[in-house]
Amino acid sequence: MTQTPGAGPYPTGTGGGPGPATPTPTPIAIPTRTLRLGVDVGGTFTDVVTVDLQGRVATAKVPSTPEDSSAGVIAGWRALNEHAPGVAVFAHGTTVATNALLERRGGRTALITTEGFRDIIEIGRQDRASLYDLTRHRPAPLVPRDLRFVVRERMGPAGVVVPLDRSSLALAVEAVATADVEAVAVCLLFGFLHPEHERAVGDALRERLPEVAVSLSCEVLPEFREYERMSTTVADAYLRPRLSAYLGRLAARSAEAGLPEPLVMQSSGGVADAGTAARRPARFVLSGPAGGVVGASYVADLSGFPNVLTFDMGGTSTDVAPVVAGRVQMTTEAVVAGVPLRLPMVDVHTVSAGGGSIAWVDDGGALRVGPRSAGAVPGPAGYGLGGEEPTVTDANLVLGYLPDGAELGGGLVLRRDLAERALARLGERLGLDARQAALGVVRVADTEMVRALRLISVQRGLDPRDFALVAFGGAGGLHACALAEELGSGTVLVPRAAGVLSAMGLAISEVRHDFLRPVLRTDVPDDDPEDDPGHGGDGLAAGFTELETAAAADLDGPSTQRLADLRYAGQSFELTVPGSTAEELVRAFHAEHERRYGHRIDDEPVEIVNIRLVATVPGATPDLHEPDLHEPDEPGDAVVGRRTVFTDSGPVDALVLDRTAMGRGSRVKGVAVVEFPESTCLVRPGWSGAVDDVGTLVLTRGAGKQAGTGREEPHRGARDENEEAGR
C-alpha cells in the first residue's frame, strides 16, 4: 500500500535530538492526489518528472535559476501543465548545501571545543593536500581560528575527567555573542559517549543566543573519532542558515502554487521533510547525485537488472555508483569539498570529467583530457560561443555521434565546423587529422571513466563483468557501450527518462531517517556469543529498542532495519552489516569482510562499534509502461535519417533513430544513433537491442549474453594477438 508521506512533518534526524512536540497527523488518502512530483535542480537545468499510480511518466526541463533556485523549481512544475491538486508527493533534490560547501558560502559559524584542542578542525588528520606540491593547502576549515572558542572541561572513555568550568563556559558564550555569528557548532572530546557537557554548553548558548543555530556533535553524529565528528557537526551548523532560508522560500512558493510541502532528498537516497532538512542540513549534501542513483536503480530493477553500475555523465562531471541486488550501496566515509561527513550517503564516486572536459597535449607528447572544463561558457568549441579548445563534446560532434546543426536549449546550435577546427589544431600537435584526434579524445576520456567504474566495483569486491551499465545524463549514452566493452560487461541500459533520471528517482523515493548509537568496546566473542550474556546481547536489544522508539516518534508506521558497525578488534575501519543479535551481526560481518576484502579471520575477536537503525516509509513503486507503437524489428517511423559516424574501425553509414517515436519492442542494431530528449545514445558495432516493457533501451553485445546472468570473458580487442610473436 502506498503511503502519502508528504502530508505531515517528520521531525528530527538522529535519535536524541529535540524535535517539535506536535504529534504527526495521520495522512489522509485523497483519491485525486495520485501524482508524485520530482524536481531536481542541477547547475544548468532543472528537471521535472511526474509519475502516476499507473506508471505514466511526464517530464520537463527548464533552465535553472541560480539566484534563487526555488523559482526554477516552480517554473519547471508549471511547464508540465499538471494540476496541483493532483500532486500527492513533491520531492526535491537540491544542490544548495553542496554549493554552499564547495564555494564556502555557508553561514558565519563559530565552534566551541575542549580547552587544549582548538585546532583539531584545522589539523585534521595531519596529512598534507598533495605529496609533491608543497605549496598546496588543505581546503580551508569552515571555522577560522578566531571563531574557535574553548571551554575548560574534559570527558574521557569512562566519563568526567575535568568538570565543566562554568566561568570558562560563560566566557566562551560571551565570545560567541560578540563574534556576531549565524551558527555555532559544539564538539567536545568524548561528547559522543558522555554528552552531558555538550548539552550544558548547548543550553547556555540557546539561552543567551536564541536566534543562533546550535549544532551539538552528540546530536549530529554520536560517533567516535573527534575530527570527523567535529567536521560533520561544523558542516551542519555552517549549512543551516543557507538551507533553511532556501527551504523557507521554496515552501512559500510551493504553497502559492498549491503544491504539498516539499520533501527533500538526503545524501542517503531517501527523502525527509523540509523541517528536518533545515535542522540537519549536513544530511543533504549529496542530495543531487543521490536522486540519480535511486532513479537508475529503480528503472534498472523494473527492467530486470538488479546488479548495475550507474553512469551519469554530464557537462563537467560524471557520477558512478554500484547497485547490488537492487540495493543502492551506502557509505559513511564521504569527503565533500574537503569536508569529511560521516553520515549515511549513497556510495557515489564523482570524477571531474564530462562532455565539457578539454583535450590537450602535455609536454611529454601525450594526449590528455581534463581536468579543465570549458564549462557552460564558452563551452565546447562547437557551441559557437567563442570556445577555442577542443572538448569531449566536440570530439563526439566530429565523429558524427552528435548531430551537426542540432538545437540545444537557449538558442544554441551545435556546429561541427567549429568542433573540427578545434580538433584539427589538437591533431597537428599529435600528427593526426581532426577525426583521428577526435577518436583519441573519446578513447582517453573513456579510459578515465573506466578507472572510475573499476574503482567503485573492484574496490568494493564487485566484478564489473557481472554488472549492467545504466547510462544517463546528457552524455552517458554516448560512451556507455565503449565503457562496457572495456569493463567486460555485456549489457547497457538506457532508460527512457535518461535525461531526467534524477528527478524520476525523487518522484518514487521513500522517506528515510537514520539513527545511530555508539556501543564502543562491546567485545563480542565470535565463537559463541550466547555464552557471554555480559557482552552484547541485552545491551544491543535495549539499544535497538530505544532507536525504534525514536523512529516511531518521527515517522508514521515506519519499516525499520537494524544494522551495526563492526570491526575486528584493533582495526580502525568498520563495516556496516544488517542484524539484530550479536551472533547475527558477527556472522554477517565475517561474510561481508570476506566479500569486500577477500578474507575473513574466524578466530579473531570482533567489536561492535555503533548500532544503527534505518527507518523508512516506502515511496511509490509504480510499474512503468512503454506504449506499443511499432511492429517489432521495424525501425519504421523512428528513423529520422542516416549519417556517417566514425568508430575505431572506420566510417559507417548509421541509422539515426528518434527515441520518442520508438515503442515497446522497437529494435536497434549497431551502428546506430538513438536520439533521446536531452541525451543521445551511440549503439556501437556489435551491439544491438530493443526497448523493453518499461521503456528501457536494453543493449547487449555479441550473442546477447546479459551481464548479471552469467560471466563473460574479458573483451578481446580488435588487435591481433599474434602480434606478440615479434617481441
Partner: protein, 513 residues
C-alpha cells in the same frame, strides 16, 4: 615512438590503474592500523628487467626503494607462481619493519613483470616493542632480518613467530598477497585486450614518456653546481651534529646528486642504506616536476646519485638503520631541496622531522609521527600542522587512542607564530602532550631541536622543536617541572608523567616588507 600517442595515454592510465588497484586492495584488506589507517605502504608494477613501470606511493619514503627489492629477487631465479619476501636493508630493503613482497607476473609461463607491495609492519621483533628502538647499535637489535626468500607457509610461520603481534602480521601479509595477485590478474586482462607485444611496447613507451617529462623540467633549470649542507642532531649514541653535504649538478636535461663530504656511517641507528637516500633524492626531484608526471623508472632515469660507500647515506652491514628511514631521509631531502632552491622556485624548509614518538608499556605499543609547519613559498604561506617531506601518514584520533591505550592526550594544538617570518609566513608547528596512566617507556626520534628550519629569500627560520618531560608521579617526587629532553632519547615513565612534543615551524619566504 612505437605506439601512437593515444594508445600511450590509454596504456599509461591502465598501468597506473593496476598499481592503484593493488594499493587500494592492500589498504582495504590490511589488518593493522599502521597500514590500513596510516597508509604506510606502497604498490608497484615492474617489467621483466626490473624497471618500475607504475607505482602507487602513499608516502614518499617508498619512492625509490623498490627497484633494489626486485633486482634482489631477479638475481635469485624467480619462477611463475612464486611470492618472494624480504626486508634486509642491505639486500633490497630499507629498514626491517618495511617488508616487501615480490610476485612474478607471467603470461603462459613466461615472466613479463613483477607485482610488488611494501608495507610497514608495526613489529618485526628486535630489542623493543614496535621495532623502532632509539638505542639500537646493529641491525640484529632491530628485528628479524629476512633476506629474499620464497614465502611459503613455513616461512610465514617463522616470520610471524618472531613478531610480538603475530596475528596482525598474518592479516597484513594476507592483504599484501591479495594485492600482489591483482598484478597478475590485471596484466593477464591487459594482454588479452591489447596483445603482449603492445603491452610490452607500452612499458617502454611509458618509461620514455616519463623520462621526457623529467628531462623537460630539468632543461628549464640553469646549468651549474649547487651545494647545500645540513646536519642531523645526534644519532642516539651521542648528541653531536652529523654533517650531510650535497652538490647538485644540473647539466642540460640531466642531474647529479653527490653526497661527498657527508659523515661516515655512525654508531647509532640513523644510517641509510642507499635505497633510502635514493627515495629522498627522488622526492626532491618530484617536487620540481608537474604533479601529473607518472611515477616510474623513467621519471628518475635522468638522475644520477653518488653516495660514498660506507657513508651515512650509503651504509654497509651491519650498521643499525631504523631511524635512517624516518629521520635522516628528511634531512637528505631538505639538503637537496636547499641546493635546488638556488636554481628553482621551491619552498623554504619545512619542519624536517617526523617527530617519531613511541610509548610502550606492559603489552602495548603506541607509535605516532607528529606533523609540523611546512615552509612558505613564493606563492603563499606554508601550510600549518601537516606532514612534510618523506611521510604523509594520518594521526591516531585522540578518542581512538584513549580507548585503546592507558594514556590521555592533554593538548593537541597549533603553536601560533612558530612559522618563520617573511613576505609569506612559514606554517606553524604543533604541540602534543600525552600523560601516561601506567608506567611505561618513551622513545623519541626527532630532529630540528637545535637547528631551526631556515627561511628562504630573506624569510626568517621556523621555531625549533622541543621535547619535554614533566614528572607528576609521587614515585618520582614530581612537581610538574618540565625537563628538556635531547632530540633522540629513551626514558622510563611513571604513571602520571607527561611527555610533550613541540614540533618545528616551517621557514618563511621573502624579506620583511
Amino acid at each position: 615512438m612505437i605506439l601512437d600517442p593515444i594508445t600511450l595515454s590509454v596504456l599509461r592510465s591502465a598501468l597506473a590503474g593496476i598499481a592503484e588497484e593493488m594499493g587500494t586492495v592492500l589498504v582495504r584488506a590490511a589488518y593493522s592500523s599502521n597500514i590500513k589507517e596510516r597508509r604506510d605502504c606502497s604498490a608497484a608494477l615492474f617489467d621483466a628487467a626490473g624497471r618500475m613501470v607504475a607505482q602507487a606511493e602513499h608516502i614518499p619514503v617508498h619512492l625509490g626503494a623498490m627497484p633494489e627489492s626486485v633486482a634482489a629477487v631477479i638475481a635469485r631465479d624467480p619462477r611463475p607462481g612464486d611470492i618472494w619476501i624480504l626486508n634486509d636493508p642491505y639486500t633490497g630493503g630499507t629498514h626491517l619493519p618495511d617488508i616487501t613482497l615480490v610476485s612474478p607476473v607471467d603470461i603462459n609461463g613466461e615472466i613479463v613483470g613483477y607485482g610488488v607491495t611494501r608495507a610497514h609492519h608495526s613489529d618485526v621483533g628486535g630489542m623493543s616493542p614496535g621495532s623502532m628502538p632509539a638505542g639500537s647499535r646493529d641491525l640484529w637489535q632491530e628485528g628479524l632480518i629476512i633476506p629474499p626468500v620464497r614465502l611459503t607457509d613455513d616461512v610465514l610461520a617463522l616470520v610471524c613467530a618472531n613478531s610480538r603481534t603475530p596475528r596482525l602480521r598474518r592479516g597484513d601479509f594476507r592483504a599484501q598477497v591479495s594485492a600482489n595477485r591483482v598484478a597478475q590478474l590485471r596484466m593477464t586482462q591487459l594482454v588479452a585486450r591489447w596483445s603482449l607485444a603492445t603491452v610490452l611496447d607500452g612499458f617502454d613507451e611509458v618509461l620514455a614518456y616519463a623520462e621526457r617529462r623529467t628531462r623537460e623540467a630539468l632543461r628549464q633549470l640553469r646549468d651549474g653546481v649547487y651545494r647545500a649542507a645540513t646536519e642531523l642532531e645526534g644519532d642516539g649514541v651521542t648528541d653531536d651534529d652529523i654533517p650531510i653535504e650535497v652538490a647538485v649538478t644540473i647539466d642540460g636535461d640531466s642531474a647529479r646528486m653527490d653526497f661527498t663530504g657527508t659523515s661516515p656511517a655512525v654508531a647509532g641507528n640513523v644510517n641509510c642504506p642507499l635505497a633510502v637516500t635514493r627515495s629522498a633524492c627522488y622526492f626532491a626531484l618530484r617536487v620540481l616536476l608537474p604533479e601529473d608526471v607518472p611515477a616510474c623508472a623513467g621519471t628518475y632515469a635522468p638522475l644520477t646519485i653518488d653516495a660514498p660507500e660506507g657513508s651515512l647515506v650509503n651504509a654497509r652491514p651491519p650498521h643499525a638503520v631504523v631511524a635512517g628511514n624516518v629521520e635522516t631521509s628528511q634531512r637528505v631531502a631538505d639538503a637537496v631541496l636547499a641546493a635546488l632552491s638556488q636554481v628553482a622556485d621551491v619552498p623554504a624548509a619545512g619542519e624536517g622531522t617526523m617527530n617519531n614518538t613511541v610509548i610502550g608499556g606492559r603489552g602495548w605499543t603506541y607509535y605516532e609521527t607528529v606533523a609540523g609547519g611546512q615552509g612558505a613559498s613564493s606563492t603563499g604561506d606554508g601550510p600549518s600542522g601537516v606532514h612534510v617531506g618523506m611521510t604523509n601518514t594520518l594521526n591516531t584520533p585522540i578518542e581512538a587512542l584513549e580507548l585503546e591505550y592507558p594514556m590521555r592526550v592533554e593538548r593537541y594544538e597549533l603553536v601560533e607564530g612558530s612559522g618563520g617570518t617573511g613576505v609569506h609566513r612559514g606554517g606553524d608547528g604543533i604541540i602534543r602532550s600525552i600523560r601516561v596512566l601506567e608506567d611505561a617507556t618513551v622513545n623519541l626520534l626527532t630532529d630540528r631541536r637545535r637547528h631551526a628550519p631556515p627561511g628562504l629569500a630573506g624569510g626568517g627560520p621556523g621555531a625549533v622543536g622541543r621535547n619535554l618531560l614533566a614528572r607528576f608521579s609521587t614515585e618520582s617526587a614530581g612537581d610538574g617541572a618540565e625537563e628538556e629532553l635531547p632530540p633522540k632519547v629513551a626514558r622510563r615513565l611513571r604513571a602520571g608523567d607527561v611527555v610533550t612534543v613541540v614540533t618545528p615551524g616551517g621557514g618563511g619566504w621573502g624579506g620583511r616588507t
